[in-house]
Amino acid sequence: MWIEMLGHSFMRTALTAGLVIGAVSSLLSFFVVQKGLAFAGAGISHAAFGGLALGTFLDRDPLLVGGVFAVGTALILANLSKGKTLTPDIAIGIAFSGSMAMGVILISVSRGQYFGELFSYLFGNILAVSSTELWAISLLALIVGAFMWLFFRGLLIMTLSKDVACAQGVPVRWLDCALLTAVAITVILSVRLVGVVLASALLVLPGAIGHMLSGHYRGVIAVSMGTALLSITIGLGLSYRLDWPAGASIVATLVAKFIVTTLLFSSWPSLSKRLSGSYIGRIISSEKR
């Protein structure tokens, strides 16, 4: 099946795009889960829908307009602080519903003319990725990946405690904006793969599974990345074999993995300890004391 599947150039393009997006979103997923940004991820992706609809309606590049909406929402969220009247939670709720409402109104105004195209933005259409889009996806993913690599330690300390990070000279405000912008870019990259409705799944599930299986951030990121890449491959395979929608198949695979992992480790907590212990053991033995 795999050989037959990869014989089609559109499937090869789809799989490559999926793996690139999976790699970058699973890397971000660690910070999304640790910083409790799951709702922010969902909010940003849904806010992008208004932009996608507007772009389609105005005959501009929908992904570009959607990207502007997503990044704009991310920057507004990054500049809101807890304890004020307009908290990030409330702002996400407003951006989320407001943008979706705008999209639905635009669909209605256009008398359903763009329904098919907008539906694909809602639930993804990975098979429609062109080779030019694949290049754009790879370039943006590279930028997000480079940002994560360059500022990894600063991001780690900031995730641990903003106050401690600020004292150490970590540019906390700037990094907060950059991290949420990276989430917004990843959401837009995921639109073709899984759509805006399911985009946050790629940002939440890999990190959540990684967190269950490892007690060390390197382990969490490794498991998160492995899980995402495997789920995208299996999801695309399922989609090809059973003629299921690709985005939903990928997300369903991730959710199934999450449920199995939860059941496994709630039944045998010692298994989790043994796994994370062995990983940690390997790191320790490689270090000089």
Partner: protein, 259 residues
């Protein structure tokens, strides 16, 4: 009471100078006209009642709170990395936000402190490892704990691991907010010794907000903060002249033991 305290070593450089600082929080004046200086190798104790503004003062120095008036000047104000203040090791009060659920080993937390936030570690990698090991031992964390995830430690051990993170870094300034909180007596003793060693061997200035009168024996000077500077001096000066202030801060009994 003396308004200035001599630095512990005459050659010590000035690290921070706080001048006429006023701080408002939610429209309420929390600190008024705070002025003091901290030198290298100096340890300054901050005492005061709950709500007196000790934590706010530390947070203002770091830049987490913006002062309404006054100035905070750091030595050599422009640092090579463009930051206008030296690197500060800040131990917040209470349990740190995400530390409990953060997937990191005790050893790596200390190492993260030693390496800092820079892309590549500040010094040679081996030096960072050395500093991390020393800091963990200084805080009395046994080697078998080093490999444990931070989530598997007790509250006191986690606090010590966080202190090790602060002590392992190349911080010019240490701001410790209630460092003895949830520490047992042996751990407190270790902390006193570690602070002593830092003062003697590293060009670091330390500010400690505390209600632990035993810790005040380790400091060079004390400021009593109660919305304003109620008293200042060496621990001995406060002991002899500041009874009223100490009583107000609830530290009178602790100081009595030092006589």
């Amino acid at each position: 009471m003396d308004s200035t305290v001599q630095p512990p070593y005459p050659s010590s450089r000035r690290l921070i100078r706080v001048m006429n600082l006023d701080v408002d929080l939610a429209g309420q004046r929390v600190l008024r006209d705070i002025t003091f200086t901290l030198h290298e190798n100096e340890t300054l104790g901050l005492i005061g009642p709950n709500g007196g503004g000790k934590t706010t003062l530390l947070r203002t120095i770091i830049g987490l709170v913006r002062p309404s008036a006054g100035r905070i000047a750091f030595a050599g104000s422009q640092q090579p990395n463009g930051v206008e203040r030296p690197r500060v090791g800040y131990l917040p009060q209470g349990e740190v936000e995400n530390l409990r659920s953060f997937p990191i080993r005790t050893y790596d937390l200390a190492l993260l402190g030693a390496e800092g936030e820079a892309v590549s570690a500040a010094g040679p990698k081996e030096e960072s490892h050395r500093r991390a090991r020393i800091a963990l031992r200084d805080m009395g964390l046994a080697q078998q704990i080093w490999s444990r995830p931070i989530s598997a430690l007790s509250g006191g051990q986690r606090r010590r691991a966080l202190l090790a993170m602060m002590l392992s870094g190349e911080n010019k300034l240490l701001l410790l907010d209630e460092p003895c909180e949830s520490l047992d007596h042996p751990a407190r003793r270790k902390l006193y010794q570690a602070l002593q060693r830092i003062r003697d061997h590293r060009e670091v200035g330390t500010m400690i907000a505390t209600h632990d009168s035993r810790l005040l024996r380790e400091v060079d000077s004390v400021i009593a903060v109660d919305g304003r500077i109620a008293a200042r001096g060496t621990p001995e000066q406060l002991l002899h002249n500041g009874e009223g202030v100490l009583r107000q801060c609830g530290m009178h009994e602790g100081f009595a033991g030092m006589r």
